[in-house]
């Protein structure tokens, strides 16, 4: 198990990553953490009772250069349950780079059902083991427009100050 500590301006979130079930996704995430990619990156899209998405933008809504897109490991049996972390992506199942989200509810419809564009689902690769109260606090912040995004942007900044691999 790999332990990651995300220090945000709202508090500390500890993640336990499942390198056995999602080896490539975990290796990808760890490499972004080790590069310092997530430092200064915000949670830019939070929808209560759904998910909190981050890993893509700085607080002035600029993107950092990402690595190559990765293969989707959503068929690993891990479910998009409350407190789990999964990779965000575009309509192409194998398009995740740095953006991730934390599930705020059991989002069964995001799970893998088949190896088709609609059925691939979102690859869970770990879970929050400590600091879910911090995530809930983030989700309670009123949202609205921000940067060029018309909705769902927290109106009080939620920023990752430090991301570290603990073990």
């Amino acid at each position: 198990m790999t332990i990651i500590k995300l220090t945000t301006n709202q508090g500390v979130i500890t993640l336990e990553l499942d390198a056995e079930k999602a080896p490539n996704t975990v290796a990808n995430f760890v490499s972004y953490v080790e590069d310092g990619f997530y430092e200064g990156i915000i949670f830019h899209r939070i929808i209560p009772n759904f998910m909190a998405q981050g890993g893509g933008f700085t607080n002035d809504f600029k993107q950092k250069d990402t690595k190559d897109q990765i293969e989707n490991e959503a068929d690993n049996g891990l479910k998009n349950d409350r407190g789990t972390i999964a990779m965000a992506r575009t309509g192409d199942p194998h398009s995740a780079t740095g953006q991730f989200f934390i599930n705020l509810a059991d989002n069964g419809f995001l799970n893998h059902t088949s190896k088709t564009q609609q059925g691939w689902g979102y690859a869970v690769f770990g879970k929050v083991t400590d600091g879910m109260d911090v995530v809930d606090k983030m989700a309670a912040i009123p949202t609205g427009s921000g940067g060029m995004f018309p909705t769902d942007v927290p109106q009080e900044e939620v920023i990752i100050e430090k991301a570290e691999v603990i073990k």
Binding site: M51, R89, F149
Partner: protein, 241 residues
């Protein structure tokens, strides 16, 4: 001989799907003087971040459309939810006609309403809210004033967002709201509607008061291409492998 009028939508042309671009280019090259009009009812492109974006296949598609209009085919474009930022430069370059979101034509004597279809999906309130904001001219002006690189990054982000949503469905696969369809048919007093967007190709019959109205839903171009082909005699679906 009666001329043909073609309707297509939802090609979602992008660099990532060269076979669809190839199919579309071959189709355009195959059109001759028997086809008087080609109506493209939105989402020709998977994303459009400004007329200055040189990402393939934008220029190729523009060149092919220009050849077609040069050859006398009237090409009309109605914006979709993906390519609503197509601007004047595109229409100047291609000589394609830009249509309003709801456009009425006379199709061999029958008044026919053309739409992309996203406006009919009123159950998707999240999308309708997004649409309203992004169709605001001030928003569009601000968006298009950003550097190209930033616009491309944002488009990538939007694609991500439209997929990962609370309903677990991308806006394209939400279906139309029946009441909205009936109200729209009534508003234009039309017995025929042609649209795309939902990727659920079909022909539906609706009862509008005493009158029957038909609604044609165009197919997306995925593994094959699909064209709704009308002549004076009626319609036909052309499948392109």
């Amino acid at each position: 001989m009666s001329k043909h009028v073609h309707f297509i939508s939802d090609l979602h042309l992008t660099q990532d799907r060269p076979q669809t671009t190839q199919r579309f280019v071959s189709y355009l090259e195959s059109l001759d003087a028997n086809v008087s009009d080609l109506y493209i009812l939105g989402d020709l492109f998977d994303t459009w971040v400004g007329d200055d974006d040189p990402t393939p296949p934008n220029q190729l598609v523009k060149d092919k459309l220009k050849s077609l209009t040069d050859n006398g085919v009237n090409v009309h474009f109605l914006a979709g939810n993906r390519d609503f930022l197509i601007g004047q430069q595109f229409f100047d370059d291609t000589q394609v006609e830009c249509l309003e979101d709801e456009h009425i034509i006379d199709l061999f004597g029958v008044k026919t309403l053309l739409m992309h279809g996203d406006l009919l999906c009123t159950d998707d309130t999240e999308y309708q809210q997004f649409r309203q904001l992004t169709h605001n001219p001030a928003w569009q002006q601000a968006a298009l004033a950003k550097p190209l690189e930033e616009r491309l990054a944002l488009a990538q982000h939007y694609r991500q967002q439209s997929h990962l949503n609370k309903q677990g469905k991308s806006s394209e696969i939400m279906d139309v709201n029946e009441t909205t369809v009936l109200n729209t048919l009534q508003k234009y007093n039309t017995a025929r509607l042609i649209h795309g967007h939902t990727h659920r190709p079909n022909k539906h019959i609706h009862k509008v008061g005493e009158q029957e109205a038909e609604r044609f839903v165009l197919a997306e171009w995925d593994k094959t291409g699909s064209i709704l082909d009308w002549t004076e005699q009626g319609y036909n679906i052309i499948e392109l492998s």
